[in-house]
């Protein structure tokens, strides 16, 4: 494609997009207005199922199937990254030593924040139906919390604390659990992903029916996914190197012939 053709294509695209935006934007409700039909319906449905966190209720109760799709997308994306970043032909893994130069203040912060972050992550997952947060946010906090060890220069400890095979299984297990919970609702005679468990009292720790269960399944998937994702990147950065030995044998033959 020539440069001129590309510019014409870009110009046409921008013109169409611009026209559509100009037509569409004035039709939008005003920023911060009072009329929110979606909110009115969603919040009523949320309280009917004794869920304090409306966002969790929408994600896991009112449109659980949507969230299942999103979770599958994340799962596939992480599998793709792990497949792309694995060591391939003519690459080798080298041993990575712990340490390097880490500021003492950084080490101290890591030692203080490591347990705090893990507890916070577990808390965010467990209280997903009651307070802001949930499986996704808590899972990310948990998995990034583990990687504080890398920031503190303790890469070997991180490797030992994070048996990758477990997290690969955990990622899949979370997706399966999520789907199974959805199917179980259908098996109990309600719709797919319906909230069939008794919902209890609003804002109790055990309330909102299936929402906390879905939160845990998502927390498992997301936490494991991010661990696998970051592990792939860390492995590439620290351990995997191009194999210079690949050219070795032919060199040897040449030298032997000489």
């Amino acid at each position: 494609m020539t440069r001129r053709l590309r510019l014409i294509l870009l110009g046409v695209g921008l013109a169409v997009l611009g026209t559509l935006l100009v037509v569409a934007l004035p039709q939008l409700p005003r920023f911060g207005g009072d009329a929110h039909p979606y909110r009115d319906l969603a919040v009523v449905a949320t309280f009917q199922h004794a869920t304090a966190n409306a966002v969790s209720s929408i994600n896991f109760d009112q449109r659980g199937f949507d969230t299942f799709g999103e979770e599958t997308i994340l799962f596939c994306a992480v599998v793709g990254v792990a497949a792309l970043l694995r060591p391939v032909h003519r690459e080798r893994r080298r041993e990575v030593a712990s340490g390097g130069r880490v500021l003492e203040s950084t080490s101290l912060l890591v030692y203080v924040l490591f347990p705090v972050t893990l507890v916070l992550g577990a808390d965010v997952v467990a209280h997903g139906a009651i307070t802001p947060g949930g499986g996704f946010q808590g899972g990310v906090v948990l998995s990034t919390g583990i990687h504080l060890l890398y920031v503190g220069g303790r890469y070997r400890l991180l490797q030992r604390l994070r048996p990758l095979a477990w997290f690969e299984q955990g990622e899949a297990l979370g997706v399966v659990l999520f789907g199974a919970l959805g199917l179980a609702a259908a098996a109990f005679g309600a719709a797919l992903f319906a909230n069939v468990v008794p919902q209890g009292t609003l804002s109790d720790f055990v309330s909102a029916g299936t929402v906390p269960l879905f939160n845990m399944a998502v927390g498992l998937t997301v936490g494991s996914s991010i661990v696998v994702l970051l592990a792939s990147f860390l492995d590439q950065t620290l351990a995997i190197r191009a194999d210079q030995g690949g050219a070795g044998p032919s060199d040897g033959v040449r030298e032997g012939a000489a």
């Binding site: 911060g32 990310v140 990034t144 990147f233």
Partner: protein, 101 residues
């Protein structure tokens, strides 16, 4: 009435900060520094989401936008750098062995 004015002021301030932060990210040329600026920008976005009353989104943003994404960017930059330096070393070694005899 007073409360709405206050909320609007907070939202306006947060939006301005996000605008400034976005500019800072775009105009940082060095990718390694850009990752750090991106992380700060993530915190500014978090402030905006809290000001707009969306704590769920703010939590996602602070976890993904200020921790995971900049970490992935920094790791990728390091990997690219190590590929470059390894190639350079291999080239200089090859040159040295050519020059030896």
């Amino acid at each position: 009435m007073n409360e709405t004015v206050l909320t609007n002021l907070v939202v306006a301030a947060a939006l301005t900060l996000v605008l400034v932060g976005a500019g800072a990210v775009v105009f940082t040329r060095n990718p390694a520094k850009q990752a750090v600026v991106l992380s700060v920008y993530g915190i500014l976005l978090t402030v905006l989401f809290v000001a707009l009353g969306a704590p769920d989104v703010a939590l996602s943003q602070v976890a993904i936008g200020t921790a995971v994404v900049p970490l992935i960017v920094v790791l990728s930059i390091r990997k690219v750098g190590s590929i470059g330096s390894e190639r350079a070393r291999a080239r200089s070694e090859a040159k040295a062995s050519d020059g030896d005899p």
